[in-house]
């Protein structure tokens, strides 16, 4: 049955790519207020695409931020209901001068489609829309019930999406959530992500004197806000890279030998990575591989710091104020509010004499884990194997898709993260692209996945 879909995908490939290019032309940059109109236009475009594919009840639903696009097809009674989640917003394209072709003028080069959002996430999301279209045009039906929940704030931390999911629980109810927003191991080696790190973001402000002071008149005799901040930040790590904040690792579950083996299979070529990044050495918690450090272990990173005169040259002052922003990636057993609390306690205990330090909470998202032996996970793995000819590797994601945990918790459904992007596709960087080999193979994989899902008895 899926062979007729394969044929449909082949025959309509040019039209599909043209349509995807239209999608990518819309600069739906959610972080930039000037693009709010483009973001809304993109939501409408997405809704129209769902309607064209055959979805029903298509709506652009308001949130306090950018809207969510909903649509469904629910004519497979007794079959599982799959909720497809994706996002139509994109990262800012800056720095513009590093793009070989403009970010919002899609270009096909070497079977790769270059544009902001090509892989993250419009290109991958678009495949599901075409999947519905192919099933309905070739079969007149689908083996599963399908719902779409497509948001416009993923690149700005999905601020309004969790409350949206909460208030639309019944509308979104499903037996599984499927997301394609994660990369494969490498070209030809698919992966299914079974875990994501959570995230907290906090800002630390250190205040010394009530103004910057002339370093000639005061230097050496008053606290320096930058010194105090660097001392405070320095107290948060040991020289070997481990986090020295008391209680930070308390809730972290040790990795099982099976998990370590699975992560080793997903492993990077550390030497190649080191060279690509221009580093003399990779660096991190001793006793863990790069993949383990970046996916299965929590981290505390100072993501920005600022203090003193920021112009050209040296203005010899004693800075009265300095600010750092910290992002912690959390793993499955850690709770954001607990980590915020241990951070706050650490700051209270380690603030140097003579200055004040304040912590402001900002981003927050839970980590998530889906059991790898769930029937839907097995169905996804078999579909990849059928099309790509190799078994997918089960991986953990180092990044955060904040809503994944919310979907899992509020809908009480497993989340199947099966990506078709590649790490080298420059998501969040200039010259983002989508390798169209994975567009073609991905459509075939998803066709088989839904076919297999339709044969499972779960969730009824």
């Amino acid at each position: 049955m899926t062979h007729s879909l394969d044929t449909y995908f082949q025959q309509h490939r040019d039209a599909h790519l043209a349509e995807l290019s239209d999608y990518l032309r819309i600069p739906s940059v959610s972080a930039v207020p000037e693009h709010a109109g483009d973001v809304r236009r993109c939501a409408e475009w997405t809704a129209d695409a769902l309607r064209r594919a055959g979805c029903e009840h298509v709506q652009v639903l308001e949130t306090e931020g950018h809207p969510v696009v909903y649509g469904d097809w629910l004519h497979a009674p007794g079959k599982p209901t799959v909720l497809v989640y994706g996002h139509y917003d994109v990262q800012p394209p800056d720095p513009l001068e590093l793009w070989e072709t403009p970010p919002f003028e899609p270009q096909l080069r070497n079977n790769k489609l270059y544009a902001r959002g090509a892989t993250d996430d419009k290109g991958q999301l678009f495949m599901y829309i075409k999947l519905v279209e192919a099933w309905l045009r070739t079969q007149g039906t689908m083996p599963v019930n399908v719902k779409f929940c497509i948001e416009g704030e993923e690149e700005v931390a999905s601020l309004h999406t969790p409350p949206f999911i909460e208030t639309h629980r019944e509308l979104l109810a499903a037996d599984a959530v499927v997301i394609s927003d994660n990369p494969m191991i490498k070209k030809g080696q698919p992966a299914i992500m079974y875990s994501l790190r959570g995230l907290i973001g906090v800002e630390i402000e250190v205040i010394a004197a009530n103004q910057d002071l002339h370093s000639g008149l005061y230097g050496g005799g008053v606290p320096n806000a930058v010194h105090a901040l660097t001392e405070l930040l320095g107290s948060m790590h040991r020289p070997d890279g481990t986090v020295a904040v008391e209680g930070f690792y308390d809730a972290v579950l040790p990795l099982s030998p099976e998990e370590r083996q699975s992560l080793a299979n997903a492993g990077e070529d550390e030497e190649q990575l080191r060279r690509e990044l221009g580093l003399s050495a990779l660096f991190g918690e001793p006793g863990f591989s790069f993949v383990e450090r970046t996916t299965a272990r929590p981290t505390l990173e100072v993501v920005s710091i600022s203090g003193g005169f920021q112009g050209e040259g040296i203005k010899p002052i004693v800075p009265g104020r300095a600010v750092a922003k910290i992002a912690c990636r959390l793993v499955a057993s850690q709770k954001p509010e607990e980590i915020e609390a241990v951070l706050e306690r650490h700051i209270q205990r380690h603030t140097p004499a003579g200055v004040q330090a304040k912590m402001k909470r900002s981003l927050s998202g839970n980590p998530y884990l889906t059991p790898i032996d769930h029937p839907f996970m097995r169905a996804a793995a078999e579909s990849y194997a059928d099309v790509y000819g190799v078994k997918p590797v089960f991986t953990r994601g180092g990044g955060s898709i904040p809503v994944v945990e919310v979907f899992g918790r509020l809908l009480d459904a497993p989340v199947v993260m099966m990506g078709f992007g590649l790490k080298e596709e420059n998501m969040h960087a200039p010259n983002e692209y989508f390798d169209l080999d994975n567009f073609d193979l991905g459509l075939r994989t998803l066709a088989r996945f839904w076919d297999k899902l339709g044969q499972t008895r779960i969730g009824q």
Copy 2:
């Protein structure tokens, strides 16, 4: 004889203040390229003022930066020659919104003249011009030979002034250099500065990966440039505030008991200072008072730091680059190039694994010390005592006037630093002003000083 000068100053007070206000209206901000025309106009204004006062050979001399104004009066054969040094440039007025009245529209309030440059240094320099005028108009002669060397780059580290002094050694040759660019202890208590701290400024750049990296994909597995920089900076101080850079204190001479007593007399009310600065505690090298820490001890201050995304909100990246700028204040026995060398060695030894650190030298100025028993110093002290009714305190300056050491060394002449400003006059800050009580008393003090200098036999 000086009484007739006192009368002259009284009778011409309004005219002098009006003339000074014209001077202060010129926004001679040397740091801002857009003000280059204003700086030159200010040099011309200064030259005209010297001519009006009766100086000869007045010239605006070019440098590679802003020009130097020269003028002299050399008709006192057999008498000492005094070189008056000052600067006609001013600090940038930012932040403008904190000024009660615009920085370049002088305002008289409570016998204080408010304007950028009022005390630093136009107001103090202007007194010497009026001193020449008063001597020549009332006496037709002066008890000393006088030269003026007035630069326009003091607020940007006097970059071109030392080479100017070197190439104009003969023109500038003098028996003493007199400078009024330092504050009194407090109102009613004059001070003569016998030492200034030197200064070096360096920039430290830490490079980790060749780009900022997504903290979800790389966080925990690669070096973070901000972490490495804060660790490196942290290694430069002990928690008690002493500098931990090996060799930093090697050349520092211990303070004699006499010097400590003299500095105690010049001492701040530390409790009041603490309150004014909004600090819970002053802070610095144990075993030294605030005054000692800020004038007689060397310091290492991080004057600015920057790394990671500098916009609003938290962008969860691992920064690939971070920069700090450091200013060290040096005391009399330390050499800038030696301190730069120990800093560079420290950076080489303490750069964390996996990153590169580069140090770039920037500012550099030697410390200076004038023996307090020099006859010219005694003449200055007696003149203050005659007019203010109290003996001046001999102090050390915590700041740097880079050219002081150069004058002393190249002209082989003592430098007499007798200030008429007050610490609370907001030099380098909004609402700078000059307390005109010191303008009046200062003119009378300087009249007596030149009278006494004329009676000394030195330098012939």
